[in-house]
Amino acid sequence: MIDKFAASIAEAIGPLPDGSTVLLGGFGAVGQADQLIEGLIETGARELTVVANNAGYGRIGLARLLELGHVRKLICSFPRIAGSTIFETLYSSGRLELELVPQGTLAERMRAAGAGIPAFYTATSVGTSLAEGKPVLEVDGKTYVREYALSGDLALVEAWAGDRWGNLTYKMAGRNFNPIVATAATRTVAQVHNVAELGELDPEAIVTPGIFVDSLIHLPQEEWA
């Protein structure tokens, strides 16, 4: 019997070598797997490259991972949000490398990694400083810049419900980057608010089929249910 539910966050995440690349779902606080990020801290892995749309806020989750010095490089579209003081301190003191990527290009680079597309072209950023040095292609008289797939060793996902095969559904705008990062990493781990029996999730409405998920942990948050 396939059962991807783990007994603990540590078991769900498994060991992680230093220097790994970790993809985080979430848009700001919404749909970010804070408890799994705490588990990521517990692995002790350092020199991480972290891919996330934002750079955390306050002193929890991603911000705490940064504060503890586990991250070497951040690949991100909008690191500066309300409360992102830890990121800003690290960045301005030169202790954190930043690769800034337009939000849609960030999503598409991970989608490409998940879909076996090593590179693609986009008009986004053409004519701007973010396109400097990148190969271009002209198609029908318009110029596009080449972008490369962005894959991870580990993806951390926040989902609303999951079953033992790893099928996932999300809640509202909590979906955001989660289904994308789930496809793009060697190992994908999801924290789910609700456990569904196999067959209980509508096959027409499953957003992330279990093929993309290696491990799940059930973390009910009763106050939100």
Binding site: E88, L98, Q103, A107, T124, S129, Y170
Partner: protein, 227 residues
């Protein structure tokens, strides 16, 4: 602003500017409203006119802010403010959301800007203050991908410097993307490589408007005839 306007000239306030832009959005358009002032436009779409609002974090059919006791923690817009979903709305992931943006499916995007140039270049994401980390978000995708890009901004900076310019001094968000600019003093189209003033706030003179820009303006033909 340090610019002294003649008596009787009332620059549009934030809500008046948002309302002015909302009035120009036809029923049935799919529209992404940028963070800040553009977000306010949603509140001024005339009742009964169906305009479908897109948010890059995976929402079509954004509705108004919810009452305090009906906030859904998982339902925010691109500015991370709590919102609602209207009937007919839907959720999707970021790759699908940017398929809508990059693929040219949005009729309109309205963004704020530091500068807009005569050729439609827009600069709205970075300054030369290198002490702060840069942040681009979806601005470049939206500017390059939407069918129309309108800009909503003050006519000049707080220091009185022009924001309508011959060439952007700040880093570009996208070249040649803007087709229309709504400022607190005027509405301008970008066409044939220049700014055409199609409307000014009451009492405003073309001469002063021109003095507040670092690029040549011209009056729209019907207005020029009566100027």
């Amino acid at each position: 602003m340090t610019v002294t306007l003649p008596e009787g000239v009332e620059p549009r306030g934030r809500d008046a500017l948002a309302a002015r832009i909302a009035a120009d959005i036809p029923e049935g358009w799919y529209v992404n409203l940028g963070i800040g002032l553009p977000t306010l436009i949603a509140d001024h779409v005339p009742p009964g006119r169906e305009v479908v609002l897109h948010s890059e974090n995976g929402i079509l059919g954004l509705g108004a802010a919810p009452p305090e006791d009906e906030i859904e923690p998982w339902l925010v817009n691109a500015g991370k403010q709590h919102v609602t979903l209207v009937p007919g709305g839907s959720y999707f992931h970021h790759a699908d959301s940017f398929t809508m943006i990059r693929g040219g499916h949005l009729d309109l995007c309205v963004l704020g800007a530091y500068e807009v140039a005569v050729n439609g270049d827009i600069a709205n994401w970075a300054t030369f203050d290198n002490s702060r980390a840069p942040a681009v978000g979806g601005a470049m995708d939206l500017a390059a991908g939407a069918r129309r890009l309108w800009v909503a901004m003050d006519h000049v900076t707080r220091e009185g410097a022009a924001k309508l310019v011959q060439a952007c001094s700040y880093p570009l968000t996208a070249p040649g993307a803007v087709s229309r600019v709504y400022t607190n003093l005027a509405v301008l189209d970008i066409e044939d490589g220049g700014f055409t003033v199609v409307e000014m706030v009451p009492g405003m003179s073309f001469a002063l408007l021109q003095a507040l820009a670092d690029a040549p303006l011209r009056l729209a033909e019907q207005d020029a005839a009566t100027a």
